[in-house]
Point group: C2
Chain length 409, copies 2
């Protein structure tokens, strides 16, 4: 039992053109014209294959192959079709396409499974609006608090929901009864360099790193840079610069295996001739262990305070988000391993450094992930690439594991 | 001979309301409604005092008290009525008001001077469009090259000229014959902490610091911050942070008396979870000596290259602008000193760290500046303040020096 690789390849090419600008990348942010076009194409392609389709009140889009058995539970497969602003063709999209191809292959083979299988495209995984919005809604984990302070801003969220004919009440009511779910398997690109470096065909994800993010604001005094002597300044940029270097040193020396990042830094008011009175930074850190994540976050906050003290500044460290590290399901991992072995493909277990819809699903159903290699570890950019052979390997492992799990979970 | 301090105070209060928003500051960027209203008020007030008025083809606005002597040269006094976006009530405005008050006081006293005296409000000193645009135009130093790449963008400049009924040809033709000019005296707030700290009434400016500015861009590789190990990153933020600290250390250790500033810093793409692939910085440095300014700029560029090498990044250091340091005129300084002595006011010589219209005028006529103290050294913000007593002292020194220079230059 193998997927129809020519059909999958054609889909990947067609979908990869929707929102693609040469030299810039893929622009399929949530509810953009390109994103809506990609979702419409997905449902149309599913219907053309004789599959049922479904859109829930969180705008999650699904293709469904129902089981003939009454009361059958559903095995979810899938990922997301939205992208970051200048993304690549593979992140999320490959997982949705492979899920769709699994449904078509099972249908074409005339297999009668004891579970309904559903290929789902989750809404807003990348966080144009909220981040993993669709998977939160589907698991019932979405709260009014989350919608009150969304990543992309409250006004933007409300305007976009209105424009799409969605409501907050609908988002909060989209939760499925966990008893109807049997599991979730997400195929995704690794987004890191490990599989390529180790020359391994596929990765079986053991756990997903937890993550804590912060907005750090140093405040000094904005002064004329031509008239204020160097030793009379309270330059917020110096605190920020010290912290950028300290974050790296702290992680490298005291938290091996963890990562941290200063992803954004702004100085205000932002002119050549004004000593910065304010520096605003976006900081995050990740660990596979919950207690270690707390220790790491505490250590970085302490660094921020000592950088502020060093340069006579005030500092505020405001928590933005926190994800608890989670383990994937052992049954799902075992099915993926059996599928690799049966197909003669090499595999290794590895953690996921990135967050995924599976991280949310794990709280309500047996969930797991399979990674295909990312060339040079690149993701979230136009150079994102997975070889065609690796894509087909991933699809075939997903197909075999799906059949296995549909009969065993 | 003293100014009418009540009249000056009323003017300062009236003008300070034009464009003022409580809690925000003064919004009189070039050609904004508030700026145009301030300029209209200035000409109207001059006419009400029986002075002539003049608008040249660079939109410089002047009040004129003509000399009775045929062929008399002109002694220019003044500064600018435009402000930065969230500025204060004193920067530029106080110099224009004191110049106007000098003309009225001379006229009221019935003094017949052998020179025409002119109170001028130069266009766009702060650089909403170009920076010292009016003084460049008046000295004939404006070039098509400067207008081709203005600080506020070429399209914005053209649109604003068009809206105001101005033309590039008019700007380029606004130069005055230097033979018609006798000198220029600018009263301005210090914008630094020295006079207040030293408890000195007035500052006599010896020189204006030269300034070299640069855009520095570090380029590494944007990568997923959750999946890319710390030791496999090429994080542009690390190069930028190293340079921020190195700039300060280099100036403090090797260039005492100079200043430098990193006023802006952006990381791209700018997300919590993306290792920055690019860091863009706005850097400037200042010195009173031309050769030292070059050495300082070279040393900072070398620091940028070594920061890049340290973190395996590329770096580009692009020059943005350069101002040669200039000395003020000895005759003007002497007249200001005599005026302070005659009035029993303390004074000290000091350099100007900030740029001014006088920096441009110095190339065509004997030019000098007098500083009044700035409370806490604050400028370019709503907290900008000079005590009323200091304002009156400055106006009286300007009046006395004007009469002195009109008879001696």
């Amino acid at each position: 039992l193998l997927v129809n690789s020519e059909r999958l390849r054609a889909d990947l090419q067609t979908l990869g053109e929707i929102g693609w600008t040469p030299g810039v990348g893929l622009g399929r942010t949530t509810f953009s014209d390109a994103h809506l076009a990609a979702r419409a194409w997905f449902l149309e392609t599913a219907r053309a294959a004789g599959l049922q389709t479904l859109i829930d009140s969180a705008a999650n889009h699904s293709a469904v192959l129902p089981s003939g058995e009454p009361g059958a539970r559903t095995l979810l497969l899938g990922s997301h079709l939205d992208s970051v602003a200048q993304g690549g063709r593979y992140d999320g999209a490959l997982g949705v396409l492979c899920a769709l191809e699994v449904l078509r292959s099972v249908k074409d083979a005339g297999l009668e499974l004891p579970m309904t299988i559903e290929a789902i495209d989750f809404t807003d995984e990348e966080g144009t609006l909220v981040g993993t919005l669709g998977s939160w809604a589907l698991t019932g984990a979405l709260t009014p608090d989350t919608l009150a302070a969304p990543r992309g801003g409250r006004e933007h969220l409300l305007a976009e929901l209105d424009r799409m004919g969605l409501t907050e009440a609908g988002l909060l009511a989209a939760g499925r009864d966990p008893a109807t779910l049997a599991g979730f398997v997400e195929l995704h690109i690794e987004q890191g360099p490990v599989l390529e470096r180790e020359s391994v065909d596929l990765g079986i994800v053991t756990a997903i790193r937890g993550n804590a993010s912060f907005d750090v604001t140093f405040t000094g005094e904005a002064r004329h840079a031509g008239t204020t002597p160097m030793d009379l300044r309270r330059d917020a940029g110096l605190g920020a610069a010290s912290l950028v270097l300290a974050v790296r040193h702290t992680v490298m020396r005291e938290f091996p295996g963890c990562v941290a990042n200063v992803g954004e830094l702004h100085l205000r008011p932002g002119a050549y001739n004004v000593v910065p009175g304010q520096a605003r930074m976006r900081l995050e850190c990740r660990s596979l262990d919950d207690a270690e994540l707390d220790r790491l976050a505490d250590a970085l906050a302490a660094q921020a305070r000592s950088s502020a003290a060093e340069w006579d500044l005030e500092v505020e460290v405001a928590p933005v988000g926190r994800w608890t590290p989670v383990a994937t399901d052992g049954e799902v991992r075992a099915a993926l391993r059996r599928a690799c072995e049966a197909l003669g493909l090499s595999s290794m277990e590895l953690p996921s450094g990135a967050g995924h819809d599976a991280q949310v699903l794990v709280s309500v159903t047996r969930s797991g992930m399979v990674f295909v290699p990312s060339h040079h570890g690149i993701s979230h950019g136009p150079a994102e690439h997975t070889t065609w052979n690796d894509c087909v390997n991933g699809a075939n492992v997903l197909l075999r594991a799906t059949v296995d799990l549909a009969r065993s979970l």
